[in-house]
Symmetry: C2
Subunit: 226 residues, 2 copies
């Protein structure tokens, strides 16, 4: 057996459509496209040097994730973020993360909590340095751990389907309320301690509280109603 380090870092033959999906998702969540902008298949195909096939596959997936709106015979348009979207994403997230946490708290064991503590440790230092993008990354990483340990493929998929939009919200929040960076650590530490009890009910209550807090802050953002 040849160790992984020696051979080529595996060409990672993912489907081209999946790569395109990631690239476009990053471009949209990163603000490289304007909300409402018309994304044309042929333009994207030319720009990314692929054919229309993988582009269509990517757009279909991004539509499911809520990043673009597909109008028949019109094409794909970058979604505009509304108050309704924030509400839907957060209530749905609350529902599935509640389930995920209830399961994860009895499955994480030492390894899971060690991962979590590593993230928390970094959050603590972010509190002093204050780099908004780091805060977003760590916030997501923390919750990714819960989903990873809940051992529930379907919940994981639903999370992945809204994760991109959660990212957008977190970025918007940090841009509007930079002071929030200071409470990131304590809120997640509290949630971690609730999970550590190993009691599904306590874990679910912890999530309810955590997500509700995040939602209350987001509601203060100035967004169009729909």
């Amino acid at each position: 057996m040849i160790p992984d380090d020696v051979v080529s870092p595996l060409p990672s033959q993912r489907a081209l459509g999946d790569l395109v999906t990631d690239v476009l998702r990053e471009m949209i969540t990163g603000g490289r496209f304007q909300p409402g902008q018309h994304l044309k298949e042929t333009e994207l195909a030319d720009a990314l040097k692929v054919s229309r096939g993988p582009i269509r596959q990517a757009l279909a997936r991004l539509e499911e994730e809520g990043h673009v709106e597909l109008r028949r015979h019109r094409g794909a348009f970058v979604s505009t973020l509304t108050r309704t979207d924030v509400e839907e994403v957060h209530t749905l997230r609350g529902a599935i993360e509640r389930l995920a946490a209830g399961r994860a708290c009895t499955r994480m064991q030492d390894a899971g909590f060690a991962e979590m503590d590593a993230v928390l440790e970094q959050m603590k230092s972010v509190d002093t340095k204050i780099d908004p993008e780091d805060a977003v990354r760590l916030d997501l990483q923390f919750h990714d751990i819960i989903y990873a340990y809940c051992d529930h493929g379907r919940v994981q998929r639903v999370w992945e389907s809204i994760r991109g939009q959660v990212t957008v919200f977190l970025r918007a929040r940090n841009a509007s309320f930079p002071d929030f960076l200071e409470v990131g650590y304590s809120e997640h530490k509290e949630l971690r301690d609730a999970l550590a009890l190993g009691d599904p009910q306590a874990a679910q209550d912890g999530i309810d509280k955590h997500i509700l807090g995040a939602y209350e802050r987001l509601k203060r953002l100035n967004l169009p109603d729909r």
Copy 2:
């Protein structure tokens, strides 16, 4: 303005891929394919008289719904139902239907409850006639109403993504436990009354109880572990 009732019910130009998705989903849930069967794109394309494009779109969607497994460069295989699938589908369903019911109970109003009562009325008569397929249809119709009135596009989509598998489970249950047909009405009536209180907490508790009951029965089915 011409009222909708007078004009043609619009030819509803759906995409071919969507039609193919529905056809294949029905064929899979209806048992026309064997679990594990290898579905080849070209075969399906020939059989349905469409090109590979819509077929691929359909298979990608059915994979997200859990009806087929897509293996890279191998193709699509009809999923085998396992105990794990039953557990995942029901816990996820419990989580989102809890949310949906909490919202729906304050939005259904008279019209919604009228729809529900119409379904309940049919359930009562099924109890005497006992046609398993009718029981499945009515069970789904009842819960569809909750999702329709919860006014939450994303929850609706998640429901649609597991609805097909729930259908499979219900059919399997009726095949194994025909006696269940007798309790269908009373259990749903109980849930309807919980919703009618208009209290989100009561509605959520009603769902917890209802889904848990359904799950307990399904667990008695004899299914492979994975």
